[in-house]
């Protein structure tokens, strides 16, 4: 009786157990014939994570992947595209070395681009799935929107701008549909929680200050994630804008955009367009609205004669929403009231009749997002603001300084924390504890 060697596998016999189910990372690399950075990138894009086999047959220090996961990557068209990209880069390099700049340029333009939409659809078959895993995506996009573009760190300005645009579009949607539920100001940034289609989505927005890109961070990994997250948020935004009858890449007022008031521009765009849609459908309502607009226009003209034409156009956009008696808006509200749930209605009416004005030192971006999300009207100190500080109808002025020089008696001066506390408590809190300079 010779005892068989424990691990002996006769030739032609298949592997069994964990050894058959899992491969180590280096085995997977060999199998896929790619290098480690590309493998990592594919894993990030496809959402493949290492596995924990019960028995680590190659040692505990190894990373194991499931055989099926590796096969899944093997059949991935992205793999082929990345191979093509590598070949292409070689061509470009050669052309550049031969000083054939024209060819290099042409080749660079023709570089194949990996298609992410298929992967997004594959990873998130339903829209709800995508919303459920949007947390990390939003946090990252918001972070990149606040980063300084640095050539040395490989963060190019286009990427930052794109992130900023996507973040603002998302915020505009949330604000417009009053889906924001909670906000929390922390040292790390401002946490927001919104509820979209029953999914609670929490994200972190860094404070609007210069962020530092530290050296111990591998930006390439983050950019790989961003390569997935950017289109994902784009598709999600498209779908969301589509659901409220808005054209997706929104066309913004370039002047407001230049003033970095993107969010306000977006919300105005949303307001204008949503109101325009029913007016086409309901001709009667549109007629009424038009007549009202016509009435109001000369009036406004007289009052604000010195304003530029652009400003007037803005006001016209706003008019229907500001006129309380407009039939059109009633129709719209009645229609929309049915579909929104109790929570949304509550959020919508929290700051309903309040008018806010933000002082210079107040974090503008976050408050411009939060206050309209809860039904308030807000303006700020600076160009392009919808109304001035001297407006008598302002009920609350948000101030974050030690003392306020000139005070209007008709309004209350509160710290920004009041807004956040009110929002979280869902009631308008007494302002005593949030006076200036406390």
């Amino acid at each position: 009786m010779v005892k068989a060697v424990k691990h002996y596998r006769p030739p032609g016999k298949k592997k069994e157990g964990n050894a058959a189910k899992f491969v180590t990372r280096s085995q997977a690399l060999k199998q896929l014939q790619i290098n480690l950075p590309l493998f990592r990138k594919l894993c990030i894009l496809k959402g493949v994570t290492p596995r924990e086999p019960k028995k680590k047959f190659k040692g505990t220090h190894q990373t194991y992947y499931h055989v099926k996961d590796v096969a899944f990557l093997h059949h991935e068209p992205l793999l082929e595209i990345h191979r093509e990209i590598r070949v292409h880069e070689r061509k470009i390099k050669k052309a550049e070395a031969k000083k054939n700049l024209e060819r290099a340029k042409r080749l660079r333009e023709k570089t194949p681009k990996p298609k992410i939409d298929r992967i997004i659809r594959q990873r998130y078959p339903r829209f709800v799935d995508a919303l459920g895993e949007l947390d990390d995506c939003l946090s990252m996009v918001h972070l990149f929107a606040a980063l300084p573009a640095a050539e040395s760190k490989k963060i190019d300005i286009e990427c930052v701008h794109k992130c900023r645009r996507l973040a603002h579009e998302w915020q505009a949607f949330i604000s417009r549909t009053h889906k924001l539920r909670k906000a929390f100001v922390s040292v790390k940034g401002i946490y927001y929680q919104a509820e979209v289609e029953g999914q609670k989505i929490t994200w972190l927005t860094p404070h609007s200050l210069q962020q530092v890109v530290s050296d111990d961070v591998d930006v390439i990994t983050m950019l790989n994630f961003l390569q997935l997250y950017e289109p994902l948020l784009g598709f999600v935004n498209f779908r969301l804008y589509h659901s409220i009858n808005l054209k997706y890449p929104p066309i913004l007022d370039p002047r407001l955009e230049a003033l970095a008031a993107d969010l306000y521009a977006l919300s105005r765009y949303a307001n204008a367009n949503v109101n325009a849609v029913p007016s086409v459908v309901n001709s009667e309502a549109s007629q009424v609205a038009e007549s009202e607009q016509g009435d109001a226009k000369p009036k406004r003209d007289d009052i604000e004669h010195e304003k530029s034409e652009l400003r007037l156009a803005q006001l016209q956009h706003q008019l229907p929403t500001n006129e309380p008696g407009a039939l059109m808006q009633l129709v719209e509200e009645a229609a929309s009231e049915e579909e929104v749930d109790q929570d949304t209605r509550e959020c919508k009416n929290l700051f309903k009749d309040l008018k806010f004005f933000l002082s210079r030192e107040v974090p503008r971006e976050s408050l411009l997002f939060v206050i309209p999300a809860f039904g308030g009207i807000v303006s700020w100190e600076g160009e392009g603001a919808p109304f001035q500080e001297s407006d008598q109808s302002i009920t609350h002025q948000i101030v974050d300084r030690d003392s306020q020089g000139h005070k209007f008696l008709s309004r209350e001066y509160v710290q920004p924390q009041w807004v956040f506390d009110s929002v979280n408590a869902r009631i308008i809190l007494p302002t005593v504890d949030y006076m200036v300079g406390r």
Partner: protein
């Protein structure tokens, strides 16, 4: 110094000689002013010595004639040696270096030895300008301009500073006035007809395009977002390759992350310092900070790092679905039936029995439930009618009563009372004549009998006729704290905690006999009780309950209470369960089939439990304590052995007041009704009914 000086002087002398020879020639050859300048130099040189020489040059520089001068100096030097372009090493071994213009040999100068030349060089600050001219065998000192020129040459520039390598182009030809073309040839024909070769090439291209040999770059398509999830209603579940595990969401921020957290969240400086001593992995990731206002919040320095770490977690961490039992803590609570379903049970006080002048220490209910006996520390034993609260009888026994107990036989109306070191068996004079007759027979003691008892017990207990109360008196040698009847009413047990081996005695009433238990007692006996149906006897000592079989005279088991000091014991009418109350307020329920450890320990009373009791027919039990409360529990015992007893706390009965730190001293259930009697240290007996 003197030899070196001499050495120095010598070349000067020779210099002057040569100069003088040269003077003539230059004067003959060359122009005017310069030749005047140079002889003056050469003349002054020997006179002024080394130092004055450069100064002279400087002066000549400033005079503005330097250009010409340098030219002339070149001219001066050139004709001195006339060897021409021959290798100079031919003259290495010769005493002369060549010939001057007149054919005379030019002698080599005396060379300075190395030390001398070195010292001369060190002394001379202009040394770096001096160049040895091998051809003429002399040292030439470069002027400033020459140095500049050399520098310019080294930089690959034109030698002269004012030379402009890129002069403006001057077009000397006048174009505007010209009437005729430069060439008079007529325009060729090819300028006027389309090119044949170009046409051919075009045709070639057109054909190639038509054939598809040439393809054009497609216009770049914008891959903007589109409606990706158009119809996802059909999809119900994720159709992923393997079981997909979504990444866990990040922890929501707590108070400590706020920009202005409560003070208790902020670590002190010492705590922050102590973090430094920790391992890097153990260190808290985030140290709360406090900012008084929102405008003073700085940018978070680790924002990027946090995000990056999250990314790493997302793609490098293996995801495993933890088989975590998701147990609702509510569901862990036993499903207790509501109290309404467990009715009836005593809830409120109906009757108070007043009359005792001191704390009522013990009560006992007559088996029919019509009468209740009570003993008090005022030295009286009373019998009350339960339903009316009337005091039927009263005995003045003259000593504080420890315990009263009715005989469980319904037709034997006698009462056992323990007071001090005595136990009285009293005739209550209830019942009809026949029963009375029987009782009287029972309670008559033969004076002759006590002596014939077994030796050891005779000394401990003496049976005496008590004439004063019409009963029997048992005299003990120590205080008797508890009296308990056997279910048949013929036996009763007494407990003397201080009695050591004779602490628990069993008495046979009809035979007037006393027996010592044939077992060794471990610990101080507190209470004893009989099994309700079998010949089993329980002795409760301070820390454990010992169970004996009386017929077989065998120790059965020991129950560990885990209590410090047990005070009372009660056996369930079924006989398999018992409860033990303790002085630390704990109540232990033992299921004897289950284990020797308590099945349940209820910590309900803050003070000593004085008594615990089971109801004879209802699934109820109660405990009373010095905190003036009595607890009523539902204690259901199932006949199914697999099912554990069900214990439900039902009611807290309040009403007694504390006196001397003592509350309720005794409690007893009514034998047929779910009523509870309690005897308090406040001289009251209370009846709680449902």
């Amino acid at each position: 110094m003197s030899p070196t000086k001499q050495n120095e002087e010598d070349p000067h002398v020779s210099d002057s000689d040569t100069d003088s020879t040269y003077e003539d020639s230059s004067a003959a050859d060359d122009d005017d002013g310069d030749s005047f300048g140079s002889p003056s130099e050469s003349e002054s040189e020997p006179a002024a010595g080394d130092d004055s020489e450069p100064d002279e040059h400087g002066e000549s520089d400033s005079s503005g004639l330097h250009q010409e001068e340098s030219d002339s100096s070149e001219d001066e030097v050139a004709p001195r040696n006339t060897v021409g372009d021959v290798p100079l090493h031919w003259y290495d071994d010769e005493p002369h270096i060549g010939y001057d213009i007149k054919g005379k040999k030019i002698k080599k100068k005396d060379k300075l030895d190395k030390l001398g030349s070195f010292l001369a060089n060190v002394d001379d600050s202009k040394n770096w300008r001096k160049v040895y001219d091998e051809y003429n065998d002399e040292e030439v000192e470069l002027t400033k301009d020459e140095v500049k020129l050399v520098r310019r040459l080294l930089k690959n520039r034109a030698p002269h500073a004012d030379f402009n390598p890129y002069p403006d182009y001057v077009d000397w030809f006048k174009w505007d006035g010209a009437k005729h073309p430069l060439s008079n040839a007529p325009e060729p024909k090819r300028r006027f007809i389309p090119s044949k070769w170009e046409a051919k090439k075009v045709v070639q291209y057109v054909r190639a395009i038509r054939k598809g040999l040439i393809t054009f770059d497609k216009p770049k398509e914008e891959d903007g977002p589109y409606l990706l999830w158009e119809d996802d209603s059909g999809l119900t579940e994720k159709s992923n390759h393997l079981a997909y595990i979504p990444a866990p969401k990040q922890k929501l921020p707590g108070n400590e992350e706020s920009y202005n957290p409560p003070l208790e969240y902020i670590p002190t400086q010492e705590e922050i310092n102590s973090y430094q001593l920790m391992y890097e992995e153990d260190r808290p990731k985030f140290i709360p900070k406090r900012f008084t206002s929102m405008r003073s919040i700085p940018a978070y320095e680790n924002a990027m790092k946090d995000c990056f770490e999250r990314c790493l977690d997302l793609y490098l961490c293996p995801r495993v679905r933890k088989k975590r039992l998701n147990i609702d803590p509510e569901s862990l609570k036993p499903k207790l039936p509501s109290r309404k379903e467990l009715k009836p049970y005593p809830t409120s006080c109906y009757i108070e029995y007043k009359g005792h002048e001191d704390a009522v220490t013990s009560i006992s209910v007559e088996p029919s439930g019509q009468w209740i006996a009570s003993g008090s520390s005022d030295g009286t034993v009373r019998i009350w009618e339960v339903e009316t609260g009337r005091c039927l009888r009263r005995w003045d026994v003259g000593e504080a009563v420890n315990c009263v107990a009715w005989n469980p036989q319904p037709d034997v109306h006698i009462l056992a009372v323990s007071l001090g070191q005595d136990v009285l068996i009293l005739n209550t004079h209830l019942g009809d004549d026949e029963e009375q007759k029987k009782i009287k027979e029972l309670l008559s003691v033969d004076t002759s009998t006590p002596s014939d008892d077994s030796g050891n017990s005779a000394t401990s207990v003496r049976w005496l006729q008590d004439d004063k109360h019409g009963g029997i008196k048992l005299k003990f040698f120590k205080t008797v704290t508890a009296v308990e009847w056997h279910r048949k009413g013929d036996y009763f047990s007494t407990v003397m905690p201080a009695g050591e081996s004779r602490a628990v005695l069993i008495h046979h009433l009809s035979k007037k006999l006393t027996q010592k238990l044939p077992f060794k007692l471990h610990g101080l006996a507190v209470r004893s009780t009989f099994h309700p149906s079998r010949s089993i006897f329980f002795i409760c000592t301070k820390q454990s309950v010992r169970v004996y079989d009386l017929l077989k005279r065998k120790f059965i088991k020991k129950l560990d209470t885990g209590l410090r000091e047990a005070s009372s014991i009660a056996v369930h009418p079924g006989g398999d369960n018992l409860i033990v109350g303790s002085k630390e307020g704990k109540l232990c329920w033992f299921d004897m089939d289950l284990s020797s450890k308590p099945y349940k320990t209820l910590k309900c009373h803050p003070k000593d439990i004085n008594n615990v009791v089971y109801h004879r027919s209802y699934p109820l039990f109660a405990s009373c304590s010095d905190d003036c409360n009595a607890y009523v529990f539902h204690g259901m015992v199932y006949s199914d052995l697999n099912q554990n007893p069900l214990i439900v706390p039902l009611e807290i009965l309040r009403g007694h007041t504390s006196s001397d730190g003592r509350g309720i001293l005794d409690c007893k259930f009514h034998p047929r009704q779910p009523w509870l009697f309690t005897a308090g240290a406040d001289k009251l007996i209370k009846l709680y009914c449902h």
